[in-house]
Symmetry: C2
């Protein structure tokens, strides 16, 4: 016990956090043992670790050390280490391991972990490993891979506990005591009708609390939820969050129970989906920091190219007013402020909106109210910023009319930014386009174009 | 069962998602019943719903309907509805309810939910409700509130199952069958020494699988994790994610077990922390879309004001070169492109870095490698974008030298953006400042200032 609290003491000091079991010192020792080909020392270091921590060590190593470790201990690698690796590290590790070793590890995994390991490999590697599996596992894995990516089918583990409703608690307990092939962990059992349709669930604590003669169908919860196998994982995660679930059954199109999803997989989904939104809004594809420079550069440059087009669009607006700028160079000095503030205000509204859509707080019931609210916020903040920058510009260039133009352009742009920030994500969502993926490009284009146009246009009208 | 799959069919059609149990139609019916003061219809509509769905209905209503519903059904509100509400809706609802009704609801909650409901109320309301609690609950709630915000102490529920290691499985089962005051849900029991220090845990399925004569200490898991009561909730969430936990014990400074944290609360923490990072990077405080315009405007305008300062700073750089711009107005047309592309490239790197720090993928072991990697990506993408925009500018203004200056400034700015995008979050994290909160302001300042300076400075040197 004392040991445990010591391990998990948690002063955070920059990048070295005590709560992380994999300390930089441990990684250094692993690298040292690796370079000395000291198998004994390596086993000594890695053996006490949880698979998730061994996976972290793989991720922390550089390419050559990682490959060396993989080929060094690959044959005796804990299967779970593979399922804990991030995609690009997994690729590296599997490439170094014998296909037979990978296949052996996969047969020892729950079906969802096996699918997770295989799904991101390139087709050749996948094929080779699948072919090395025993027939039964091969079928299970192939079926798992046949479900759409990011669907409930990819998360489900086939091994679950199901019992008939007519059994007594005593019979269930005896069954548990004699049955060898139960899942490693489960929190509830599924009650089935003769056609393998689930009719209820019973939590384990409910079984233990009841006396042996109680009939299962009398204590089961018949107001339970199951999901179809092709449901999107985001929807599955929503149900777990909304109803505080620890596991949930998955049914096929005929309503037969074919597996269950447990909360630990859903935790990963929630994390992944939140990361995806964050990354997409910044124009980054799903990524690991272990990915190669070439891959990462390819992933990001597309976004930069799209942004280049919108930046050029904004420049073309400026070009319309080049004569005005030549007459009054103060316009060139001030114009980026209008665009930049609009961009910031738009990003605020857009982020709130994208998040509210993802968490389902924004619905068709309250959408009008929320749009009006964002419009009101934009008006209030637009006026505040406009007054300040208007006065500052007046003072800076000793030109009251210029201050007025600046203030007016700012109000216009921040209000437009607010409207764009809410209307664009909503419209994209209605069109079934992920608002996190595309909103910011449209919002920026609008705030840039409107910002430059409003400011330079007003200036041309009023000042020159 | 069929019923269930029907409810959870999941075509996504814009803002109306079928998997949401609270449909817009249902909300409309609730509003209609509310306006007719039709208590019977209201009960008919709300009674079958899960507390989380009733909470969603409260959140969907406008202010006046929400208050009316609260005062209408407040006296018989399911306690869990309160703990599922977002902060500003909770405030509205509690204000409308009698303090006694709120107190009654709170006594029926698990201790973590009670603390969650009370923690965000203003001090007067909090005091009044706490005073209305029975003595025992009052102490528990006051102690819960005494733990630091966002710490393990705020998440813990006191009600858990602990047993001595010497008990047999049979004795444990008999204890479960006779004991009334067990938690509603639990997945493991804690094994204690005589001084109330935890020495192991046993999963319920482990107990059910074993025969009655097996001694608990022989089947318990003694390699288990506990957390100190003042550990930050982010660290707690990390442990749950890393080790796929469903519950975990919480100990006081003497190592005595004082409660447990269950995975459903951790799921909320993960969601909350991801939202916080997303919002902070966009300059929005923690927020609900039910918050008032005034509150939201106040939360956001500070960020806009900080950005105004950096935008003015960038303008001052432009002002240095006003003579150059007067000579060649094409500079004014092109300069926002350099700044904007730098901003985008910087945001990409910064987002990847902030996320890698949050997920602990970025550590002192790999930090140098990751910095070099981001630098390399910036060089590659900088060169690609520079060549394209250089050629375009040359063509647009029929001026090869201008194209060269544009390209050179772009390379410089994108490389600076990449370095800023990784070094600033790392530095902030080392200084114990949340990188999500402050990075983007520094990154934008650098990309704006460097962008304008590099482009206009080079232009002044080379072209004029």
């Amino acid at each position: 016990m004392t040991n445990n609290t010591e391990n998990t003491s948690f002063e955070s000091e920059g990048l070295t956090r005590e709560v992380v079991q994999v300390s930089p010192e441990l990684v250094t020792e692993v690298i040292f043992a690796l370079n000395n080909h000291d198998k004994e020392q390596l086993d000594f270091l890695l053996e006490p670790l949880h698979s998730a921590d061994v996976a972290d060590i793989f991720e922390q190593l550089d390419d050559s050390d990682r490959k060396e470790l993989a080929s060094f201990i690959g044959a005796e690698l804990e299967p779970d280490v593979l399922s804990e690796l991030d995609d690009s590290t997994l690729d590296d590790v599997i490439t170094e391991m014998d296909d037979e070793d990978v296949a052996r590890a996969i047969t020892q995994m729950e079906s969802d972990d096996a699918v997770h390991v295989l799904e991101d490999l390139d087709e050749d590697d996948q094929r080779k490993i699948i072919d090395a599996l025993p027939a039964e596992d091969r079928l299970a894995v192939e079926e798992g891979l046949s479900f759409p990516e990011d669907s409930a089918g990819r998360l489900l583990q086939r091994n679950l506990v199901s019992i008939p409703g007519l059994w007594s608690v005593g019979k269930v307990i005896d069954y548990f005591r004699s049955e060898e092939d139960l899942p490693d962990e489960f929190y509830e059992v599924f009650v089935m009708d003769p056609l393998h349709h689930p009719i209820g669930t019973v939590a384990l604590n409910q079984i233990i609390r009841s006396t042996r003669d109680v009939i299962i169908s009398d204590i089961m919860n018949d107001d339970f939820k199951v999901v179809p196998v092709d449901m999107d994982q985001e929807e599955v995660a929503y149900l777990f969050k909304q109803y505080d679930l620890t596991s949930m059954g998955v049914v096929d199109t005929e309503g037969r129970l074919i597996g269950m999803i447990t909360v630990d997989d859903v935790v990963d989904v929630i994390d992944e989906e939140a990361e995806e939104d964050l990354m997409r809004m910044a124009g980054v594809q799903e990524t690991d920091i272990t990915e190669s420079v070439f891959e990462a550069s390819k992933n990001r440059v597309l976004w930069l190219l799209i942004n280049l087009v919108t930046a050029i669009l904004a420049s073309m607006v400026i070009a319309i007013f080049d004569a005005s700028i030549e007459q009054m160079v103060a316009l060139a000095v001030l114009m980026p402020i209008v665009a930049s503030m609009g961009g910031n205000a738009g990003t605020q509204t857009m982020t709130v909106t994208v998040r509210a859509i993802a968490t389902r707080e924004l619905t068709s019931t309250n959408v009008k109210r929320v749009i009006f609210r964002e419009f009101s916020i934009a008006v209030v903040n637009g006026v505040i910023i406009a007054v300040i920058i208007g006065l500052l510009s007046w003072y800076w260039f000793a030109n009251m009319a210029l201050g007025g133009v600046m203030g007016a352009a700012m109000v216009v742009n921040i209000i437009m930014a607010g409207l764009a920030g809410i209307l664009i994500p909503i419209t994209l969502d209605k069109m079934d386009i992920d608002p996190a993926l595309a909103s910011s490009i449209f919002v920026t284009t609008i705030t840039d174009v409107v910002g430059f146009f409003a400011f330079l246009g007003l200036a041309a009208l009023v000042l020159l």
